[in-house]
Symmetry: C2
Subunit: 218 residues, 2 copies
DNA sequence: ACACTATTCCATAGATCTTTGGAGGATGAG
DNA sequence: CTCATCCTCCAAAGATCTATGGAATAGTGT
């Protein structure tokens, strides 16, 4: 085997990770897994995939060792293989955002505008320290349980309109969800504002919070 | 267009970057471009690709906006679209290295062993400050010209055996090349040691040097 | 205008990836 | 032991990607 072939072999190995990141559906799965471990059926439903298709995508992620599995009775739980995987995923999105104009267009189309200036992680920590704010986690219950911002209240988006009474009537509310490209907090802020609440959202979400090594409650 | 379709659209946009990184040959091209701008013919030769094949790969990189082009007379010069692209590339290799056992195997097979403990960037800077070391850049001439470690001497690997006399006979020599997976410095150290020189190599190379924001001479 | 160089575009064949149903394997409940 | 559940494996069709030569284009020098 010549030098050239050995070099090709090495770079083809690197490309295994690239190939794993080369499908929008697999990136959706990674986005979900960044919130915590999940079983196949739930991932398939959340990513709008057939069960076998989701399983196949998860296999390619597993063959690239970006995710790991463990069995819990009859279910198989997938999770990210490490913090560096979440970091790579986040950076890929950042590169896409800053270099591809279409990403910004797709982002605005998908997330819409909530009419307010989002707060940064630093600002949120200041506000929380002064206890002048209600931090609201609008992700599904299990994702909140897997780790959330300390002091945050959990009201999944699909229960929010029925549970408005649980939120203080006049204080400021900051909603957050999975990450910078998650629609839940945007929807929550729109809903809260429509009910006259003083609501804004965190500029990003739990993914970036974890990567910044900020405190997490579980 | 429903919410689900908009989400798919957004993640498919992210996947454009992933797809660009999904081929070993394109990663080789990025590795070369991380050293500085180059024309198509030279890239094709260095990556062992046909001219039209190289051009096609470069087009896909350009459509993902990971590289940009400028014309210089009759030639078209490609370069990385930004520092964040080099960073993403480096992190992809790190994730591959730490999660895929095959990468380590392919690395050892390709690079081989030079018999010495490589020095870190920090150590090299200490040595250079004390002027007890010759820093040797063994990359091709043009890559040295595009930016190198301050104080480094340029002797491309394929000229090294004829130009040994230019190196001090007894002092320590630290060789470096493109990055952590570049074979040139390994080969240089083996050659120098075979001639009785006190040679080691930098643990990584110019790619990581740039990303660490260390000083660069041009 | 003409020849010349460097690169991109185009058509195509072969390889690889995605999606899908159905079969089969592992686990837990009755 | 049998059944139900959850998931993976397998096979096949359709879609997409890669590599390749030949034609077309953009720029240079005479």
């Amino acid at each position: 085997m010549g030098d050239r072939q050995r070099k090709t072999t090495l770079f083809d190995q690197f490309a295994r990770v690239g190939k794993a990141l080369a499908s929008g559906k697999r990136l959706e799965l990674l986005d979900l897994l960044a919130q915590g471990e999940r079983d196949v059926a739930s991932l398939a439903a959340a990513a709008d995939l057939g069960l076998t298709t989701a399983s196949a995508h998860l296999q390619t992620l597993r063959q690239a060792n970006l995710v790991t599995t463990r069995r819990d009775g009859t279910r198989v739980l997938y999770s990210l293989a490490g913090r560096d995987v979440a970091d790579l995923f986040a950076r890929l999105r950042e590169v896409a955002q800053s270099h591809l104009p279409d990403v910004e267009a797709a982002r605005v189309t998908y997330l819409g505008d909530d009419g307010g200036r989002p707060v940064t992680r630093d600002e949120l920590q200041q506000l929380a320290k002064a206890e002048t704010v209600t931090v609201l986690d609008v992700r599904p219950r299990e994702e909140y349980a897997a780790g959330h911002i300390p002091g945050a209240v959990s009201i999944p988006l699909d229960e929010l309109s029925k549970r408005l009474a649980e939120l203080p009537g006049d204080g400021q509310i900051v909603a957050y969800c999975r990450g910078a490209y998650c629609v839940l907090a945007h929807d929550a802020v729109r809903l809260l504002r429509a009910h006259g609440r003083d609501a804004t959202r965190l500029a990003d979400g739990m993914l970036e919070w974890r990567l910044a090594d900020l405190p997490i409650a579980a």
